[in-house]
Symmetry: D4
Subunit: 255 residues, 8 copies
């Protein structure tokens, strides 16, 4: 029966993907813009990279532009990334470029998959594997099970590097700190938290702080900014894209 | 202040898009696969096409593959579309090809925007403009206002052709029938409704029935299938893509 | 890493089970007492039987006894089944036996799995495959996806016989009738519906009407009773167990 | 088509209002009585004042009178304001005047808009722009997006003075303190919080404490009272109106 | 104690209003634009008019403009009403005038109260008093009690004329038809229902059909339009205002 | 341990009550005023009467008076009942007496229990036992189980007469009609339904129609009125009390 | 019209009650058993006592007995109270008496009203009037308004003594402590909180600690126990009744 | 009537079970794998053991396997338990065995009841009886009452040993610590809390820490692990089963 043939192919394909993802070079929690850019460049460099997203669709906060007005702004230093990903932009100010947020979201996702990043939607990272004072993997569950509040055990994926790219919620770093008596590589040893808005400062800190916060655990995008107490930025996405690219460069070396 | 400069660009860009969309060649309600393919080919043919999607992201039921296993199946007759849109596929059976559903969803969206289709997310079509026994436009609202159950009046967009591509819910056709004492171009004059699953029959009917159901109103994808009483198909997407292409061909002629 | 080794085994085992279930002799929708008894006897007779249950646990309405008082009642004609399944009972009236409802629920499940029935929890049957006026399989989805109201396509499982054992809701028969213009083998051609309580009459009709209601589709337990307009029974479970056994006997012949 | 002509006018008008509001003399968060009175007097004095209200209607807690009995009480010192705004009142005690709360709410709103204050409903202030230890603007979002819990970035509005008139919730001051390591101009450097009821004391403190609490940030009405630990007042609105007037007098000088 | 003195005044004032409202010339259910205009002209003509609104604030769908863009459109024939109510407008097309929706909402309410209409918020009309085949009064309850789903009996208010101005929901006419075996003065004897959008036709029918639908019961605004099967109009408010005025003229004669 | 001694007494007492209630002369579904009055007079006459109430407290709609104003009205013909139950009243009009609704609710309950009626709270009647075309008992469940939406079977209580005193919802009659192909003793054979308000007519019909509607099944109070199409009454309770008394008189003869 | 006559009487009666309650000797927050007993004895002694209950019915946790088994236990020292209130009991152990919980709940309420206590349901105490370091009254709102989450100001009632009888939630004491920088008369100056169960100790402490906790503010019943750190008791109600009686004796002296 | 006969048997059986359970050797809160294994071995050793589970079904987190893939993993040291309970397993790695999670869940429950453990579902432990610094019993309520948020008092059960087997929520230990000023037998005297995942370490600590944490109170399974700060384990169940067995061995000695 053709219906069952179709079903069988889907199950086998998914299983193959899932089994391959159990042992990755890099696992990125969260599927927003910094994650997708990092995934693109890591995959392009030949790394085995897995992106885990709780929702059904990827792209994080990109889709809605500013206040639901579907455009976001980027600066000149991001043009090379847009050009590489074949995403259109329009010059609007001296150093400001407008991009249709739906084009940006879909373009980032499409290019990351195309480059070879393995993306899983409907998967939430609920904990980490921590051994010998080092993050060695992630503990994941199906997000629909989580939404349905069913009591079901998680499974585990192993990686040389785990990235928290979950935005200012810092979900992965938070669970690490909450469940284990540890310090991360910030001044306070704890999450400092996102400050009120200041675009230039925010973009600067995001890029600067992208990197490792605990052995085996990295932060990128707004997660990097919020972790080290940088200010928020709103619908300007340069910091996100550049942070993703920087993270990829760091990890290409390390893993 | 740079923050305000960014804000102003976004507002102006969005306003421009919105004003342009008030008078379209084609307005498609729903942003799933048949809508996106139709949008791609219509835009490519130079038509002014507007896609309206209630959710924040586009892609409809594509993202989740089958039962959340992120793959969908396509048949050989769709390969030209995939090739044109630069979307990867793998041969899996005699006539069956597996596609990563995240690649398919993002690829369809990315290509539609790239080709020039104007896509609005967070917009729901709540009614139609009907004059002289012909659909002449859509009555839309911001979907967050709808979700928040606020009592706010809608606005109107005009088009030479309106397409219901809202899947088996047939939201647009339903509101037309419920609010006006009319008949559509099915055997019963009413929506017949989706039947139980039969993949081959479903794909055949979807393609066959794609077209006009009332002066000025068209159906595509699962909406076409359900409107005329065809069976459902599950995670095989050939009918969807071919229906979108057929719709574009019809409308390129007509509008 | 041991955590990943564990994960890999679980995924592979589940995959094996799922693939095997794609082509069954009998698929039973609903995991209550009549389903489990039928599953036990079918598996014991060497049939490939798959039980699909929406909830996390099996047993249906057995666990709560009467009004949450955790006992149910059975009559003498069920003792052979209880004895075969090694479930304790206590004589309480001339022809009435009390059974701890937790023992009954767990005993029915445990014996069905032990006998070789393949049971899936967290799976909901949302539709059927109907071709040539015959039910040829079921269309299923992950119930957490359903609960989370995510728009995700289902997959398909094929069987020689499909059983609706979903209790008085008759979920499978209902979807068959609602989506297709068909008649079932009742006097009215439609579901008659459960009547008010009458224990003896209810048990008699349940047993009598267990069987085929449409080519390829069977009913058992309260689904049989409600389908043909029998009265409800409350916390007496004889009809359920005997119906399950009768169904197994019918299907052992047929499939 | 007339429907589209109407739509186009609405969009253009709103755009104009929104763009003008991006750079204001004063932005007031919250649209209750002290906000509206301040807005009235500031606009009358020629200042560019913007009021941002999360709900669909303005007026805050005025509409419901006391316990839903639609009257509020004012004292003699408020009569000049009522007279200027053309709102009716009835003498009821030595120094107490009853006002229909629906008349008061609508009268305050109507006069504020009439005087030239730009009022936005359905807008929530979710953060501030803070640079060089000074509040320089507000970070806002569409409140329906917030209610629908959609992940969408905010936009920014700039002002010489920002006013927290959000009542005892002090939403703006709270976000300033929570997100940045700062002190405000209270004795403790933090919000002191509203005390139990004492009408006379409450009205006195509300008026006295109306003013700046951080460079660029002001409090008025119950926000002033709660910020500095004054007691609540219930359905007597004199303090609210006088606080709004005082704030306007301060800001007319400053901005 | 001053707090109690305030409380006592409020209770006594409310009681007075409530007792006076028990016997009105006209009771209008719903507090949207047609209701408020009717209330204004009826009160101005010396009639005892009571407006009952379920929500905390009045104004109905006026506040949100079109799709939350806070402007509505009126035509030239409404300018006399706007001028009488002192509400600002701007000419925008040949026959189209833009009005700030917040100004319109508050202006309509403020003027209705000022003219002497007694407005109650938080009151819902849940039924009618019907005797000798004539509506003789309304059965009302506190809407918070309704929201809290508490089982509490309603009270009764008497009027010579009851108006359903609850918009296209037609709450009052619906309860009349649902609970009593009656016909109303439409062609079908039943509610015909709102049709899809057509602004000019909608405005024409709204005005034409404003009037009595059953002995003692009248319709105005969108309720008149929907009752007789007219099309919807969206954010153009001329029909609403003119309908309110026409209703007042009819009732000034009749009651 | 005293705590366990207390627990044991409670369980044993409840068990005794519950077992005794399994075989009653009269079972009344619903614990509002007509039920309690009927229960009082039946118990006083020596009948074994059981009242089943879904909520935690008894008294139905009595507690809230009219619109939450805690008074209800009774007429002179009810004074003998009030006097017998020792409930205070105040003459307020020619034939109208005001009663504190809290006194009435608690007085009706207290006297019913005192007289010997067995009252169960937290029990909902979900179905009936129907044999030989006669209602022979009720099928009940714990209402918290129902609220928690748990799948648990009900238990059964037997009675010579079952009374539906569930108000205008007519829950028991409705389940009888919905689940069985039967006619009741109204003109239509079906529930006619409550009409709009008319106090005098309502009180007359309530009393007149109190009685049997199907062999073994009776209606009282608003259930009698609504069953036969009488109008509603609001916060006047004479019909309720007299209906309860009449029902008791009928059943004292019959059971 | 009789319906309006009824309405007018109800409104006038309620208003009279409400205005009288604005100045009470004692206001008791919470309508559970200790409150009702205190109300009974205070009213009997001629004091003007007002009981305020958030729910529609009174009686607090009495109705449900233990775990929904509708009996509670009392000891010999409570028999005089039961006898005075005419409530039945049955001897069950050496010093333990079983009482039907529905009889107890209704009997306590009925007797309190009968004795002259003014009871308001649907009223919640949301704050206090505190002046000169003394509680001088309560700040109340309609609880349906609270449940409907409407932003409406409260009103005020004055009393010589305010009693927190809200059980272990201690709602009144909590708001006093949370909103004002004060200490109460416990060892810690703060609420100590209910301990785990110990019936004898619980009953002893409840009685011992019944009394004043802050100038003008008293505690009774479980509120007294929890305030001073006593253990919980479960379904034994002696402590509650005796605490209510003791409180009455204290306040008869003091107010 | 047979229906009532059935009801009576169920009530009497339940009552008998409940009364017997009031005085147990061991009461285990929570019905997951460690609880069921402990219950099995304790009952087998002749102890009177009572298991209390809040949900309708038993088995805790066992049913869902890993991420809903219905298999769990056990190690060689658990084979004797599986063999004794007649549960199937398959060797999958050097020391890893796969078990169908539905077989494991039902097998653990079935064997525990069969061995004589008295299991109650729908019962939640909301507090403890604590006297003389020792846990002497549990305070329980019907969980549907808890879910329905009804204010109903609990009842009490006495035991020589109470076990917290509620998983990492540690519901019983938490209530002990929160309500009483006490220390438990951990290093900090407080709950340490579950750490991030480490399977081997988790299994080791779970087993090691199974035992008494306060006089009369024990922990088992994940509760033991989390109480003493061990890491989580995911879908490997060896630690759970061995902890249950160890607890039984300890308590067989002690009670």
């Amino acid at each position: 029966m053709k219906e069952v043939e179709i079903t069988e192919i889907i199950i086998r394909e998914y299983l193959g993907s899932l089994l391959r993802a159990l042992d990755s070079d890099v696992i990125i929690a969260g599927g927003g813009p910094s994650s997708l850019v990092a995934g693109y460049y890591l995959a392009k460099a030949g790394k085995k990279v897995t992106i885990l997203e709780r929702k059904l669709s990827l792209g994080g906060g990109t889709w809605g532009g500013g206040m639901g007005f579907k455009y976001v702004i980027l600066e000149e230093n991001c043009l090379p990334i847009l050009q590489e990903l074949n995403i259109n932009y329009t010059k609007k100010g001296e150093d400001l470029y407008a991009v249709d947020s739906i084009a940006l979201a879909s373009g980032l996702i499409f290019n990351a998959v195309k480059a070879g990043a393995e993306i899983f939607n409907l998967v939430s990272v609920e904990d980490l594997v921590v051994k010998d004072n080092r993050v060695k993997g992630v503990v994941v569950n199906a997000s629909p099970i989580e939404i349905a509040r069913l009591h079901v055990d998680p499974i585990t994926m192993k990686a040389n590097a785990v990235v928290d790219a979950t935005g200012h919620d810092l979900e992965v770093v938070k669970v690490l700190l909450k469940k284990n008596n540890l310090k991360i590589f910030t001044e306070t040893g704890d999450i400092v938290g996102e400050r009120s808005m200041d675009v230039e400062e925010g973009e600067r800190i995001t890029l600067e702080k992208t990197g490792e916060v605990f052995p085996g655990l990295y932060v990128a995008g707004m997660a990097a900014c919020a972790c080290f107490g940088g200010p928020r930025m709103g619908p300007i996405f340069g910091g996100m894209l550049l942070s993703g690219k920087k993270l990829a460069e760091i990890l290409v070396e390390k893993v």
